[in-house]
């Protein structure tokens, strides 16, 4: 089990950040979703043993969150949302310092630093002072300093915030590689649902300090019984008109048509209409909810 919390409540004065939160997440890449103020950061800090919860308990990597805080932090790498880089220090020294803080000797840390900086793509910029780094480079530097001690769990808090598409893609690729090829579990907190979907297999949706939905992303994205995604050989406009005449709703999305069938009809109608209008269907599958829909539905229901 990656982490497991039971009835965790955390309040700050009159604000309840986590309310009787219970969640159990297996190892792997986990997305953490939730609107602002949902309690994502408080949950992360609870998992890292950085805060004392009012009630409840749990384990992270089979370590008690109350009794083994330092052990948890030794086994976890954290990439905070804030910049948290002080100027005047070269990248190589910054990451080395992070390694030393985790107990590495100076020589070991320096050797390891070169490996992880090469891995995150900062090999060329390692001797530049951190203030000269771009946003994407800073983010990768934070990632390097979080993985320098080879954690079992990597927590990324909004890692792609404020980044250009190329930089964002690099971070996502690194996160995906760590999770899928290097055996590192991931807790990926983000507002950007495509990012979570690109990296994670599981997701936990938080709202008002409670778990609104959790599970495998593929399981949460429900099949819609009467909705289909259709791709045609030809342009879809003519077939869309034909569908409307037959009582279907047809909405173009990218190169597809998303078709909602009238009540009581099944996909045979699509084949019949295609045959009668001389169209070739190249792709047909029942539509699944997007992660965005899952998220919005979970938030709206609560």
């Amino acid at each position: 089990m990656l982490f497991e919390l039971h009835d965790v409540t955390k309040t700050y004065g009159r604000i309840t950040a986590l309310k009787d939160l219970s969640v159990s997440v297996p190892a792997g890449a986990v997305g953490l979703l939730g609107p602002n103020g949902a309690g994502k950061t408080t949950l992360i800090r609870t998992l890292l043993g950085l805060i004392t919860v009012d009630s409840g308990g749990g384990q992270v990597l089979d370590m008690d969150i109350h009794a083994r805080r330092l052990d948890i932090r030794q086994a976890v790498g954290f990439v905070p949302e804030d910049e948290c880089l002080f100027p005047g220090v070269p990248g190589v020294e910054f990451v080395s310092y992070a390694g030393e803080l985790c107990g590495m000797s100076t020589a070991d840390a320096m050797q390891r630093v070169h490996e992880v900086l090469n891995y995150v793509g900062l090999g060329e910029a390692r001797y530049r002072n951190v203030e000269s780094y771009s946003t994407g480079m800073k983010q990768r530097l934070k990632l390097a300093s979080a993985i320098v001690h080879d954690p079992r769990l990597l927590v990324l808090d909004e890692p792609t915030n404020g980044m250009d598409p190329a930089g964002r893609q690099e971070i996502l690729e690194l996160a995906r590689d760590l999770a899928h090829n290097k055996g590192m579990s991931l807790l990926f907190s983000s507002h950007l649902l495509p990012d979570v979907e690109a990296v994670c297999e599981q997701v936990v949706v938080l709202g008002r300090g409670q778990v609104l939905a959790e599970g495998q992303i593929q399981d949460l994205k429900k099949l819609h019984a009467s909705c289909y995604e259709v791709r045609l050989k030809a342009e879809p406009d003519r077939f869309a008109r034909r569908l409307l005449e037959a009582g279907c709703d047809a909405e173009p999305r990218d190169d597809l048509l998303v078709v909602r069938l009238p009540a009581g009809r099944n996909e045979r109608l699509l084949w019949e209409l295609a045959a009668s209008s001389g169209e070739q269907i190249r792709y047909l599958r029942p539509q699944r909810s997007t992660l965005e829909e899952v998220f919005l539905q979970a938030v709206e229901e609560n």
Binding site: G103, S145, D150
Partner: protein, 401 residues
């Protein structure tokens, strides 16, 4: 599949235990601070008094060995007793040399701290770097200890290190291992004093540094605490001296006036003029002033507002410089007695009466005489407030974003 994956590799190396994690913070802090040219210059300048200390203890070693050149050089400065049996005054000399050294180095410590200290925490606050520390296996205590270690390293570089170096040189020049037995207390006192300076100065500057994100404000506050404290203590002492002096002068003038009136009265009846005021009254006044100041010094709290004076008081206590000055006083008073007795015999009537023998005169004048624990209490109070501020300002990450 490649034979060797040049991407991410798992780390299987050893990790140190938790006990020394703070040391990484201290080491990194020192490394960063030493990039400041001003600090490097300050550290170099701080070694000048250390060189003087080295020269002093080395010269004393040569005096003990009766080096004619060195004895010739110092014979006009030192009392004859000290030159006759320098080994008897070994502890005294070392104590006073170290006492003077630490007094001088206190200035450099304060300057070095004002250069390096303000940014220690305020910089982390300014650049939001606390998650860097607290998301790792570190406690707040480790963090504070690491930052305090930076101050400790500066104090060691400016004061304790040179003191140790001078000690080794002094032992080497004495060519006598018994010097260790005679002076180990000076060495232990120096180490303890260094620890006290580190704790007092370190916690205070860290507390100030945690109050703001701007290092400049911390530097100004540090200077303010230092110099305003000094100024207040100076003014209070000045007022006390003037008050005692004017009180004694008033008494003397009243007495002289009364005697003059009496003499005038007698003179009128006897047909003689008024008797002249005794010539040695002014010497007596000076003796009385010294006596009054010495008496007041026992309960003189006026130095307490000064941070450095409090540290100095503890330093004097640890090095026991009072006893050393008493011994020097004894030597000088003995010399004065030897000179004074024939003058009294042959110059009776024409010479003013010399002040009475007072072996504590130098000690009373040079070493603060109020109880050392008063300063200890002030510094402990400041330390307590500093720790409270630190615990309030740096509360891990247990807060709302």
């Amino acid at each position: 599949m490649p034979i060797f994956d040049q991407g991410y590799q798992h780390w299987k190396g050893p990790l140190a235990g938790h006990a020394w994690r703070w040391f990484a913070i201290a080491r990194h802090g020192v490394r960063v601070q030493l990039r400041s040219r001003i600090l490097r210059v300050m550290l170099l300048l701080g070694w000048l008094p250390a060189l003087a200390l080295v020269v002093a203890v080395a010269l004393w070693g040569l005096v003990e060995q009766r080096s004619a050149t060195v004895v010739g050089l110092v014979s006009s400065i030192l009392p004859a007793d000290m030159l006759l049996d320098p080994r008897a005054y070994r502890t005294t000399f070392w104590t006073l040399a170290y006492s003077q050294f630490f007094k001088t180095e206190m200035f450099f410590v304060m300057i070095a701290v004002v250069v390096a200290g303000p940014g220690l925490i305020s910089r982390d606050l300014r650049f939001n770097a606390l998650p860097l520390y607290f998301a790792r296996p570190l406690t707040r205590f480790d963090y504070f200890l690491g930052k305090l270690g930076v101050i400790g390293a500066l104090v060691a570089a400016v004061a304790v290190g040179p003191a140790l170096f001078a000690y080794v040189i002094g032992v080497c020049f004495s060519l006598d291992l018994s010097v260790v037995k005679d002076t180990y207390r000076v060495l232990l006192g120096s180490l303890a004093y260094g620890a006290i300076i580190t704790l007092s100065v370190g916690t205070l500057v860290l507390a100030l540094s945690s109050l703001t994100r701007r290092s400049l404000y911390v530097g100004i506050a540090w200077f303010g605490l230092w110099w305003i404290g000094e100024a207040v203590a100076g003014v209070l002492i000045g007022i006390q001296v003037v008050t005692i002096q004017s009180e004694l002068q008033r008494e003397l003038v009243e007495k002289a006036n009364a005697e003059a009136a009496q003499a005038l009265d007698h003179g009128a009846r006897a047909g003689r003029g008024p008797r002249r005021m005794p010539q040695d009254d002014w010497f007596r006044l000076e003796a009385q002033r010294e006596e009054a100041m010495s008496a007041a010094a026992r309960t003189n709290w006026r130095l307490l507002p000064s941070f450095t004076a409090n540290l100095n008081r503890l330093g004097e206590g640890l090095l026991d410089s009072d006893a050393a000055w008493v011994q020097v006083g004894r030597a000088t008073e003995r010399a004065r007695q030897v000179v004074d007795q024939p003058m009294r015999l042959f110059g009776k009537g024409s010479q003013p009466a010399a002040p009475p023998i007072n072996e504590r005169r130098l000690a009373d004048q040079i070493v603060p005489q109020y109880p050392w624990w008063w300063s200890g209490a002030v510094l402990a109070g400041l330390m307590g407030i500093s720790v409270w501020i630190l615990s309030r300002r740096i509360k891990s990450l247990d807060r709302l974003k």
